[in-house]
């Protein structure tokens, strides 16, 4: 009897840290096969690469916990990156006048975050006001934001943005890459919000049972709009990181990022039906995807096989989760 109990505890522990264990095993295997993997340079490199996905995925986690989905993050990322690059490089001409307004780096950052948040808020507005399913509303926004990016850039990259701006994506601060600082701070704030605030509880409640949430006096529409606004703002943050790192805003940047982000959320154990999940899990999910990508590159695996393997990992994660829920 006692040993059965112990076994149960052991099992619980195992399933709780399942993604962490998977990550460790992954790291061990890659480091055995490649001596380039376990180096400080490579570790920071991986962290820097995943910080974009972490930014987006934090927003995605909130949206999915609240019972929705946001397919527009990749396009919003591209638009916000392009807006930042365009404003920084060319400023903007005020309509009906001959005035040009130039932007400082800080100004462009604020403007990009504002644009992302507004597009997110628009998503939330459409979803709550017209009861459009989030899948459809954000699918529309995916196309709209991509189109706006093309219009803004004329389809050409905007590059050479200056050293100050480049520091965001490539710089170091107290021995740690700046993008890692940024994504780390975002993750910390998101963990506090989900675990320790009323807003966080409300997000879980709405995803768990929207009708009961309404009847409990929760302003469901307001909370949803906040969640989509945050998701848009975080996509913009991702856009700034990408643009800064490449020193260029590519009009087709961020294509398919929504899928990587959903993958991170799912591998992290968040349920697509809403009401359950965690930021910490998502971060682990993003790291697993990042390490996998990095490892496969180091091992000279063809990029085509990388995609196949990534898909297999997503499937395995969900199947294990389902099996866990059954027990």
């Amino acid at each position: 009897m006692e040993s059965a109990l112990e076994r149960q505890n052991y099992k619980q522990l195992l399933s709780r840290f399942q993604s962490l264990i998977a990550l460790v095993i992954l790291c061990v295997i890659i480091s055995l096969l490649s001596d380039k993997f376990l180096t400080a340079t490579n570790a920071w490199n991986v962290m820097r690469q995943i910080s974009v996905n972490v930014c987006i995925s934090v927003g995605m986690t909130l949206v999915i916990i609240a019972g929705g989905i946001d397919l527009s993050v990749g396009s919003v990322l591209a638009l916000c990156g392009a807006v930042a690059a365009g404003l920084l490089k060319n400023g903007i001409e005020l309509p009906f006048s001959n005035l040009y307004v130039g932007f400082t780096v800080l100004g462009t950052i604020v403007a990009a975050l504002l644009v992302g948040s507004l597009l997110g808020a628009f998503n939330g507005f459409v979803i709550t006001r017209f009861k459009v399913p989030s899948f459809v509303a954000t699918l529309a926004m995916l196309t709209i934001a991509r189109g706006l990016t093309m219009l803004w850039t004329g389809g050409f990259p905007v590059s050479s943005l200056g050293d100050t701006f480049a520091w965001i994506g490539t710089g170091w601060f107290i021995g740690i890459p700046v993008p890692v600082w940024i994504s780390g701070i975002i993750v910390a704030i998101a963990i506090v919000i989900t675990q320790r605030t009323k807003l966080g509880r409300y997000i879980y409640a709405i995803g768990g049972n929207e009708s009961a949430a309404t009847l409990s006096g929760i302003d469901v529409k307001k909370v949803k709009i906040i969640v989509y606004t945050v998701a848009g703002g975080l996509a913009a943050a991702g856009g700034l990181l990408v643009t800064s790192r490449l020193d260029a805003a590519q009009p087709n940047a961020g294509t398919g990022y929504e899928l990587d982000s959903i993958a991170a959320v799912v591998i992290g154990g968040t349920s697509l039906t809403g009401g359950k999940g965690s930021i910490g899990g998502t971060v682990l999910g993003a790291i697993i995807i990042g390490v996998l990508n990095n490892g496969l590159v180091l091992l000279n695996v063809s990029p085509f096989w990388q995609q196949v393997l990534k898909g297999a990992v997503i499937l395995a994660a969900v199947i294990i989760d389902k099996a866990k829920a059954k027990n």
Binding site: K198, L199, R201, G208, L215, G217, D219
Partner: protein
């Protein structure tokens, strides 16, 4: 004849059934009674093939059977009609009846004509005067239940298990259901009838079996036992009768709407048949539709539940799983959801949860137990706790004891009457006449969205109330 011999069923950490023996006779209605958690559902799930790991034997017409799936049980002639009906709302009656057993023609395509004909025959046999091509979503709950019965008839079921069939239907629909049950009985079917409503059992059942804590306490003929006797056997202890009403002297008007008035310290019972507009009235007061009401003589504009809560109103909804609970969240999260601070104060939550677990006697292993795993009665107590935490002046309860065992029921009645004594104004909506009569100080009757009568509880009788509840045209 269906016989269960020495059935024992273990769940991790719990013995749900211990050595249960049951004999079900053809042409009889066999009532299965017991508090929530007594093991009724587990036993029925074994008989209908949902659970296939257990100790003991099941004999059907003297042959030992063991079902590996519900499909096998159905093929053998055992059908179960669950409390929450298993119908696809967007399909038609015919499509639902034939779901999984569609008739196809020689091309492998659906033979709609044939299915519709058979469905029509079944509906006629059950006296349901509705086209077989209607969608389920346009039917009333009582009619949907008849469709479920039609489904079991299509299978040529010899055993029909009904789990709380009357919990969601009005008294007139119950009468129709009972007529159908009597006909099925005369055709020699074995009916198993699970219900908490004892008065119904005396109208329809022939045999009874009382379960308590996974054991059969007693079986016998309904004619040989009284309602009090049954209750005794179910709870195994004396239960206190409901409150002795006190004269309400201080009639201070608390709430006034277009339809009703509520005084301080009063329990107002609202009775009406299904579709009388009772739930809608409560939802309107609670701000699901914008409306203006008077509270303590002042006009208040209520545009959302949040406004209603701020005005001191609480609503315990009719369907606790759908509208009351976060079923996958834990006890503490559910109780605290209405009174969160901007930053969560863990200590305050612990105290709050402890308080309600103790004062309402909520049976849970810890604060962290998922509410979906609790019994119906404990779930209802959690919904109550979440609302009492907001310290309401006015508490509205919609069917507060639906699907709840006798013991918890009396606990809830006691709680309601204590709250009223402490000065809360309470509205109880119920479709159980006995409940309304037992706990109300004043009773209003609704029909077709309007109040049709008002009684002081002392003067009302069942027939007076029912007469006013039946729509006039």
């Amino acid at each position: 004849m269906l016989v269960a011999e020495n059935i024992t069923k273990q769940f991790p950490g719990v013995t749900a059934l211990k050595d249960v023996c049951l004999e079900l006779h053809p042409g009889k209605v066999n009532a299965l009674i017991g508090e929530n958690g007594a093991g009724k559902s587990t036993l029925m799930k074994i008989l209908s093939g949902v659970y296939n790991e257990y100790e003991g034997r099941i004999l059907f017409n003297n042959k030992e059977v063991s079902f590996r799936s519900t499909k096998e049980a159905q093929d053998a002639g055992i059908a179960i009609i669950h409390q929450e009906l298993n119908l696809v709302q967007d399909l038609t009656i015919t499509e639902n009846i034939f779901l999984g057993r569609e008739i196809t023609n020689s091309f492998g395509l659906l033979d709609r004509q044939q299915m519709k004909q058979q469905a029509t025959v079944l509906l006629k046999r059950l006296h349901l005067n509705i086209s077989a091509t209607e969608k389920i979503s346009s039917l009333k709950v009582g009619q949907q239940q008849v469709v479920e019965i039609a489904k079991s008839l299509l299978l040529d079921a010899k055993v029909i298990i009904m789990d709380e069939p009357t919990s969601a239907i009005s008294e007139s629909e119950v009468a129709v259901l009972f007529d159908i049950i009597r006909e099925l009985k005369s055709e020699g079917k074995i009916i198993v009838y699970i219900s908490h409503k004892l008065d119904e059992l005396f109208k329809i059942a022939d045999h009874y079996t009382v379960l308590r804590d996974g054991c059969v306490i007693e079986s016998g003929d309904m004619n040989d036992i009284t309602a009090d006797g049954l209750v005794q056997k179910m709870v195994g202890r004396e239960i206190r009768s409901v409150r002795k009403r006190e004269q309400v002297l201080d009639r201070k008007l608390m709430l006034s709407t277009e339809k009703i008035k509520l005084y301080k310290g009063e329990i107002l019972g609202v009775f009406g048949l299904m579709g009388a507009g009772r739930t809608e009235m409560l939802e309107e007061i609670f701000g699901l539709k914008e409306n203006v009401i008077q509270i303590d003589g002042k006009e208040v504009n209520i545009r959302s539940p949040l406004d209603a809560i701020r005005a001191g109103i609480a609503l315990v909804p009719e369907d606790r799983k759908k509208d009351g609970l976060f079923i996958e969240a834990d006890v503490r999260e559910n109780i605290c959801i209405t009174t969160l601070d901007a930053f969560i104060d863990g200590n305050r939550q612990t105290t709050l949860t402890d308080n309600y677990i103790n004062s309402l006697r909520i049976k849970t292993s810890s604060h962290r137990q998922t509410v979906g795993t609790l019994s119906g009665g404990n779930q209802q107590k959690i919904v109550l706790a979440k609302w009492l935490a907001t310290n309401p002046k006015i508490l509205m309860l919609d069917e507060p004891t639906r699907g709840i065992d006798v013991h918890t029921k009396s606990e809830i009645y006691e709680l309601i009457s204590q709250l009223a004594k402490d000065g809360m104004g309470i509205i109880v909506v119920s479709s159980e006449l006995a409940e309304i009569l037992a706990i109300s100080d004043r009773i209003v009757v609704m029909a077709e969205g309007n109040i049709t009568a008002e009684f002081d509880a002392g003067q009302a009788t069942e027939s007076m109330i029912l007469k006013e509840a039946i729509p006039k045209n």
